[in-house]
Amino acid sequence: MFTLIKKEIEDHIAYFIGAAVLSAILIALLISAMYQPEPRDMPVFIGLSIPVIVILIVGFPAMGSTQMYTDRTRKISTLLSTLPVSRRQILCARIITGILAILTLLLPLTITMVILFPLFTPPIQMYLGLVWEIFAAAFLMAFACYCLGLLTGWNSSKIIPTLGGLVLTSILLPLIFVKGFGLHTVVILLLFIIASLMRTWHTFMSTSL
């Protein structure tokens, strides 16, 4: 399993590097915004974060889509099946790799926020649980987008894996604007992730080698 995960990371190292770079940019923006005494400069930081967020929107479904599309066209799982590896393990390794890529981006950012928040907020229970709620919703949203990539990537045509994930992500992402970061979003996203993983699982397992 570890070998499979390692291989998946090596094959998609570009996404991990991208996630780490974007995380560093976002941390730099966050620290600058926190230490910036002038609130008039806030729109600049918000403006700078928008392209980063757009890249993220494209990034996670693209990763899922690439993983599945490469497998479908290059018959990677067919080759691996000749080794003592089951298809279940292949898909699990793929999903774990996706989660690791998301955590590469979000975890350093969340840790930075957890460290910085007490420095800039009064010593009272201000914005109770806000950081963790935002982290949970952002993680689930990123994972849901990745799952959409997995779902659309298992296709032999080029259009559906390329545009399908992107279109579906741009439909799903505004859920955060509609519902916020609270419990409603978490529940909907959890159900959505379970449903899309089940669909991917079924498709992947039932396809002939």
Binding site: I124, Y127, L172, I176, F177, V178, K179, G180, F181, H202
Partner: protein, 556 residues
């Protein structure tokens, strides 16, 4: 066997993905139409006023010098409704409904919040101390407030609050839902006054004390006293200019509800609480019910309203409570009601938002109806909303009908699956008709949705027959398509068996190659019998025996 179990799982999983991805664009379309409706609502239909206000003593109201009578007015400020993300942050900021911080001053670093760990209220403020040499010494004071006392350090001896409802104004009053009693705190004297415990059978369920307000972004409520022309003496002494109209009496801002505090009950009733004894002193009134598109219940609770505001009145002449003004905005944000209650809690005046139309003769149209049809291009948006609602699953529309009142009003504007603000749900809240009439009207409202569902179910049935799904599977799909409409149809298209059909030699229709019998006529495969041919292929020329065949010779 596994595929039999997997198929429903695959269908339900795909169904939920489709439902979510379909509900979000439909939400945005409804949101856009709804916003365009309320933004284009005529200005006249947003305002409501009552003149004279009814709470000023007649000798002041009817004073011969009065130029303008007292007036209470309210205005709906209905712009784009709050999306979840804005509501999420507003609710968690100090003073928000999910925040334990009741007051926070960033500049002076003063605050008041409820510490859940200790169960005490922490107050930090700038204390002023007058020194013997008459200088003023300012120092920061942090106090911990519990049901048993006030101290500079937290301690178990102060007791614990469990779920406090706090009023922050000039005096700190609190109601604890578990202890079932009111408390009054004097921070200067560091004393706690306990009110009597409410009996177990008492029906009071206070949810707000003092300033009773919700969703103030959606309305504004103002009162203006009777105005007189400035006296010549005032003009001469430049206390007032000739065009100014000074008030004959002023509102007592220090204690606007006089000797009482207003307490909002969960039922929508507003009670008077005696500030001294911390006992209920009667009813001040209730939240008025706005006139909605379909007549809904006349008693509304805070949960049913998008916004409300209550303005108590005490005049600076006698500083006694004279009554209150209450305004409320309907769940849909299209109607507002303004009511005036006297000091005994009797509703003396009521006014609703409406639009005056001139079609031969003037007629008033309720704002809740005017918003859908009277504004320019409003019918287009209304039809848009109606059609979008009818693309929603039929089953969820029915659930919306039956659970119309269960959701908090503001949350209804952010609903994705169950729509408490849809026309069907509005009909569910209708009180003018009996249950049967309401259901029939709701079904009529859902007619496009029903027709679409039947049409899609018919198409699914035809396709399922062609594909060769079993009778049970076809029945399930038809029921599912009628219940979930477009969502089920898309799900079916995504999950239907993808098999290349072959022609049946018996009936001529297309049949599945993976099934033993034709799913149309039930005939088996026509497999030609493997009979050996009479001829042989030999490597040399065939020899013709002259004698008898070998078998016959043996027999002889």
């Amino acid at each position: 066997m596994k595929s039999l179990i997997h198929y429903p799982v695959k269908v339900f999983a795909t169904g939920f993905v489709v439902l979510t991805l379909l509900s979000i664009p439909l939400f945005w379309f409804r949101f856009w139409c709804q916003t365009s409706l309320v933004v284009r609502m005529p200005s006249e239909a947003r305002d409501v006023s009552i003149t004279p206000s009814g709470l000023v003593p007649p000798e002041l109201e009817n004073d011969p010098n009065v130029v303008n009578r007292s007036r209470v007015s309210a205005r709906m400020i209905v712009g784009p409704f709050f999306l979840g993300i804005a509501d999420y942050f507003l609710a968690r900021f100090p003073g928000g409904r999910h925040s334990n911080i009741y007051y926070y001053d960033k500049k002076d670093e003063d605050w008041m919040y409820f510490d859940e760990e200790t169960g005490q209220i922490v107050c930090r403020y700038t204390g002023v101390q007058r020194m013997p040499d008459k200088t003023i010494l300012k120092k920061k004071v942090q106090l911990y407030v519990g049901p048993e006392g006030i101290s500079e350090s937290p301690g178990k001896n102060l007791g614990r609050f469990t779920s406090p409802v706090v009023s922050i104004s000039l005096w700190l009053t609190l109601y604890d839902k578990k202890l079932r009693r009111f408390f009054y705190f004097d921070l200067d004297e560091r004393t706690v006054v306990k009110g009597p415990q409410l009996p177990k059978d008492d029906t009071h369920k206070p949810i707000d004390i003092g300033i009773l307000r919700k969703g103030y972004e959606f309305e504004s409520l103002n009162w203006s006293p009777p105005q007189v022309r400035a006296s010549e003496e005032d003009i001469k002494e430049r206390r007032s200019s000739s065009y100014e109209l000074p008030p004959i009496v002023r509102r007592y801002y220090r204690y606007p509800s006089g000797q009482y505090l207003l307490v909002l009950d969960e039922s929508g009733r507003i009670d008077l609480l005696d500030r001294e004894t911390l006992e209920f002193a009667g009813t001040a009134g209730w939240l008025p019910a706005p006139k909605t598109f379909f007549p809904s219940k006349e008693v509304v609770t805070p949960k049913d309203l998008l916004s409300y505001d209550v303005l108590p009145l005490a005049l600076d002449t006698d500083q006694k409570y004279r009554g209150m003004f209450a305004v409320s905005v309907s769940r849909e944000g299209t109607a507002m009601a303004l009511a005036v209650f006297d000091e005994k809690g009797v509703q003396i005046k009521t006014e609703h938002t409406k639009l005056r139309k001139y079609r031969g003769r003037s007629a008033d149209v309720d704002s809740s109806k005017a918003v859908f049809f009277e504004a320019p291009w409003a019918p287009v948006s209304t039809i848009g909303i109606y059609l979008a609602e009818n693309l929603h699953p039929l089953l969820l529309s029915l659930v919306s009908y039956f659970t119309a009142d269960s959701f908090e009003a503001a949350a209804g504007h952010r609903a994705l699956f169950i729509l408490p603000n849809s026309f069907v749900a509005m009909k569910g809240r209708d009180v003018s008709e009996n249950t049967a009439e309401r259901i029939i009207t709701a079904l009529l409202l859902m007619l496009p949705s029903i027709i679409l569902a039947i049409l899609l179910a018919w198409r699914v049935n035809i396709d399922a027959t062609t594909v060769g799904l079993s009778e049970n599977a076809r029945l399930c799909w038809m029921i599912g398509t009628i219940a979930f409409g477009l969502t089920a149809y898309i799900t079916y298209r995504l999950t239907r068996p993808k098999i290349t059909l072959v022609t049946c030699q018996n009936c001529g229709n297309l049949r599945r190659p993976d099934m033993n019998r034709c799913h149309r006529c039930g005939s088996k495969w026509h497999i030609p019998e493997l009979t050996p041919p009479a001829w042989r292929v030999l490597g040399r020329s065939e020899q013709v025996y002259e004698g008898l065949p070998a078998e016959e010779a043996e027999a002889e």
